[in-house]
C-alpha cells in the first residue's frame, strides 16, 4: 500500500465494524488475533458440548433406551478397547489403502482423460457425450454390474471407488483447460509461444485451481464410495465394522465407527485443502 486511500480505508473500516468482521485485514495485533481465535474456538465448542451434555444426561437417567442411543461413556470405552487391541488401526488401514488405490487409479485416469478432452476438440467431440451419459449413473448403480463381472473382492471396491473419483477429476480438468480466458491465450500468441510453452506457461497454471478443486471433490467422492461398498460387501474395514455393530445391535460400535469415518474424511479433505490454498495463493493476492 503505497498510496493509502483514506476514503477507501474509511469505507472498509466502517463496513467491517458494522458487519463485525475480524480486523485481521487491517493488521490487528497478534495478541488480539490469538484472543479472537480462542474466542472463535470456544464459541464453536459450546453447541456440541451442550449436545453432548444432553446426550449424557439422557443416558444417565435412562430417558432414551440404550438400543436407540448408547451411553457416550460406552462409546468411549469401545473406542479405547478397539484402539488398544489394534483392531481400529487394522480396519482403518484397510479402508485407507482401498481408498488411496481407487483414488489414485480414478484420479490418474481422470487427469489423462480430462487433459485430452480439454486440449483436443476432436477427443471432446467423440468422447464427452458418452462420458457425460455414463456419469449420470450414480457410482452405487454400477455395484451389481461390477459384482457380476469381477465378484465381491478387492477389485469391486477399487473399481467403484475409482469411478467415483474419475468423474469430477475428468470434468474439472477438461473444463479448467477450456475455460482459460481467451485473452491469456492471445498473450501467448502475441509473444509467439510454441505449443509446449503455451501448455506449460499459460494453460497449466491458469487451469490448476479448477483442476485441483476436481481432485479434492474426487477424493471426497472416493471416501463416500468406500463407505458404501464396505457396507455392502466387505469383511474388513470401517464400513464392515458398522455393519457388524448394527447386526449385533452394538450401537456404541456403530457410532464409534461413524466418528472415525468423519475424522478420516475430514483429515483427507483438510490435507488437500492445505495444498489447494498454496496453489491458489496468486488468486487471493489478486482479489
Amino acid at each position: 500500500m503505497t498510496n493509502l486511500d483514506l476514503d477507501r480505508v474509511a469505507f472498509e473500516a466502517a463496513v467491517a465494524e458494522r458487519y463485525r468482521l475480524s480486523g485481521r485485514r487491517f493488521g490487528a495485533r497478534a495478541g488480539a488475533g490469538v484472543a479472537k481465535r480462542a474466542g472463535t474456538i470456544a464459541a464453536a465448542l459450546i453447541f456440541p458440548a451442550s449436545l453432548f451434555l444432553v446426550w449424557q444426561v439422557a443416558s444417565l437417567f435412562d430417558l432414551v433406551p440404550a438400543q436407540i442411543l448408547p451411553d457416550p461413556r460406552l462409546v468411549l470405552a469401545t473406542f479405547r478397547e478397539f484402539y488398544d487391541t489394534g483392531d481400529l488401526a487394522f480396519h482403518a488401514r484397510i479402508s485407507l489403502l482401498r481408498v488411496l488405490q481407487g483414488f489414485a487409479l480414478g484420479a490418474g485416469a481422470g487427469l489423462l482423460l480430462g487433459i485430452a478432452m480439454g486440449l483436443s476438440r476432436r477427443v471432446r467431440e467423440f468422447v464427452e457425450p458418452l462420458f457425460l451419459a455414463l456419469a449420470q449413473v450414480p457410482a452405487l448403480g454400477w455395484i451389481p454390474l461390477v459384482m457380476l463381472l469381477v465378484g465381491i473382492d478387492e477389485a469391486l471396491k477399487v473399481i467403484i471407488i475409482a469411478k467415483a473419483a474419475l468423474i469430477p477429476v475428468t470434468i474439472n480438468t477438461s473444463r479448467g483447460i477450456l475455460n482459460v480466458p481467451r485473452s491469456y491465450r492471445e498473450v501467448g500468441e502475441v509473444l509467439t509461444f510454441g505449443r509446449w510453452q503455451t501448455l506449460t506457461r499459460i494453460l497449466a497454471p491458469a487451469s490448476v485451481p479448477t483442476v485441483f478443486t476436481g481432485i479434492r471433490y474426487g477424493l471426497t467422492n472416493a471416501w463416500l464410495a468406500l463407505v458404501a461398498v464396505e457396507l455392502l460387501a466387505s469383511s474388513e474395514g470401517l464400513g464392515y465394522l458398522m455393519v457388524w455393530g448394527r447386526q449385533l445391535f452394538q450401537l456404541d460400535l456403530v457410532i464409534m465407527a461413524m466418528i472415525v469415518v468423519g475424522v478420516i474424511g475430514f483429515l483427507l479433505d483438510w490435507s488437500l485443502g492445505l495444498v489447494e490454498r498454496r496453489l491458489q495463493r496468486w488468486e487471493a493476492a489478486g482479489s
Binding site: 463496513v15 458487519y19 463485525r20 472463535t40 464459541a43 464453536a44 459450546i46 453447541f47 456440541p48 467431440e125 467423440f126 468422447v127 464427452e128 457425450p129 458418452l130 451419459a133 449420470q136 449413473v137 450414480p138 452405487l140 448403480g141 454400477w142 455395484i143 451389481p144 454390474l145 459384482m147 457380476l148 463381472l149 468423474i167 469430477p168 470434468i171 473444463r175 479448467g176 475455460n179 482459460v180 471433490y217 471426497t220 467422492n221 471416501w223 463416500l224 468406500l226 463407505v227 458404501a228 457396507l231 455392502l232 464400513g239 458398522m242 448394527r246 445391535f249 450401537l251 456403530v254 457410532i255 465407527a257 461413524m258 466418528i259 468423519g262 475424522v263 474424511g265 475430514f266 479433505d269
Partner: protein
C-alpha cells in the same frame, strides 16, 4: 461428507461446437454397442455376462408388460422426491439462518461442518436402527443426503450478500422482512439453486443406496439386487440404464427450473 461436484460451465471454446459435429458424439457409443452386440451374438463372450441388446430390451419389455417395472420406477421416484422435498425444505431455512445470523454461524456452523464430514452412507446403520428398514428409514436417509448440500450452498449464498447492496437496504431503511425478501433471498438464490441441484443428485444416489441396504419394498435398487442374486445380467443392465436416464431427467428438470427462476441472470 458433502462431495460437491459443481460442473463448471463450458467456456467459449466448448460453446463453438458446430451442430454438424455434435453427431460425432454418437460414433463412439455406436461402435461400442456394435462390438458388444457382435461379441454377444458370436458367442465369443458368455452371454450370461454380456447379454445381447435384444435380451436387455426383451427383459425391459416383459418387466414393463407385467407392470412390475412401472411400480419399481414409481416407488423409487416417489421416495426420491419425498426425501428431497423434506431435505431441502429443512435445508434452505437452516442455511439462510446460518448465513444471515453471525451468532448461529459462530456457534452452530462449526458443528455442522464437522458432522457433514461423516460420509452420508455411514448414517445408514444408525438410521436403520432408529427408523427400521421400511419406507420411513429410506426417506429419512434420502432427506439427510439432500439436506447437507442444500445447507452448505444456501449458507454460502446468504453470507455473501454484497455489502454494497446491504448499504442500499440500510439507506432505504428496509425492515428485516423486506431485507430478507428483496435482498438476501434473491441474492442467495443462485447459490440455493446450486444446492438444490446437488441435493437432487445426492438424493438420487441415496435412493439407490437406501434400496440396496434396506431391501424391503419395490424399487430400481431392489430390481438390480434381484438381478444380481439370480445372475440376470439383462436385469442389472436395465437397472443401470434406468438409473442413468432418470438421473439425467431429474437434472434437466432442475436446470430448467433454475433458468426460469433466475431470468435476471440471463442478460
Amino acid at each position: 461428507m458433502s462431495a460437491v461436484t459443481i460442473i463448471p460451465p463450458a467456456g467459449e471454446a466448448a460453446a463453438t461446437t458446430e451442430p454438424k459435429r455434435r453427431w460425432n458424439g454418437l460414433i463412439l457409443p455406436a461402435v461400442l454397442i456394435l462390438l458388444w452386440e457382435g461379441a454377444s451374438q458370436s458367442g465369443l463372450v458368455d452371454d450370461r455376462l454380456l447379454p445381447s441388446l435384444g435380451t436387455v430390451a426383451g427383459r425391459g419389455w416383459s418387466e414393463l408388460a407385467d407392470g412390475r417395472l412401472a411400480v419399481d420406477i414409481a416407488s423409487s421416484l416417489a421416495r426420491d422426491v419425498s426425501g428431497f422435498a423434506i431435505g431441502s425444505a429443512l435445508g434452505i431455512p437452516v442455511g439462510l439462518a446460518l448465513g444471515l445470523s453471525r451468532t448461529l454461524d459462530r456457534f452452530v456452523g462449526p458443528t455442522f461442518n464437522a458432522a457433514k464430514q461423516i460420509a452420508v452412507f455411514a448414517w445408514i446403520p444408525l438410521i436403520s436402527v432408529w427408523f427400521g428398514v421400511g419406507e420411513a428409514a429410506k426417506i429419512a436417509f434420502i432427506a439427510l443426503a439432500a439436506f447437507t448440500p442444500v445447507v452448505v450452498n444456501t449458507w454460502a449464498g446468504a453470507r455473501s450478500v454484497p455489502r454494497t447492496l446491504g448499504e442500499v437496504a440500510d439507506v432505504l431503511a428496509l425492515s428485516r422482512w423486506q431485507r430478507l425478501t428483496r435482498l438476501e433471498i434473491p441474492s442467495a438464490l443462485p447459490s440455493i439453486f446450486v444446492g438444490l441441484q446437488l441435493g437432487l443428485i445426492y438424493s438420487w444416489l441415496a435412493t439407490v443406496g437406501a434400496e440396496y441396504f434396506m431391501t424391503i419394498g419395490p424399487g430400481i435398487g431392489g430390481l438390480m439386487t434381484e438381478g444380481r442374486e439370480h445372475f440376470h445380467m439383462d436385469l442389472v443392465i436395465l437397472g443401470v440404464l434406468l438409473l442413468g436416464g432418470i438421473g439425467l431427467g431429474l437434472n434437466k428438470l432442475a436446470a430448467l427450473m433454475e433458468t426460469s427462476a433466475l431470468r435476471w441472470k440471463r442478460y
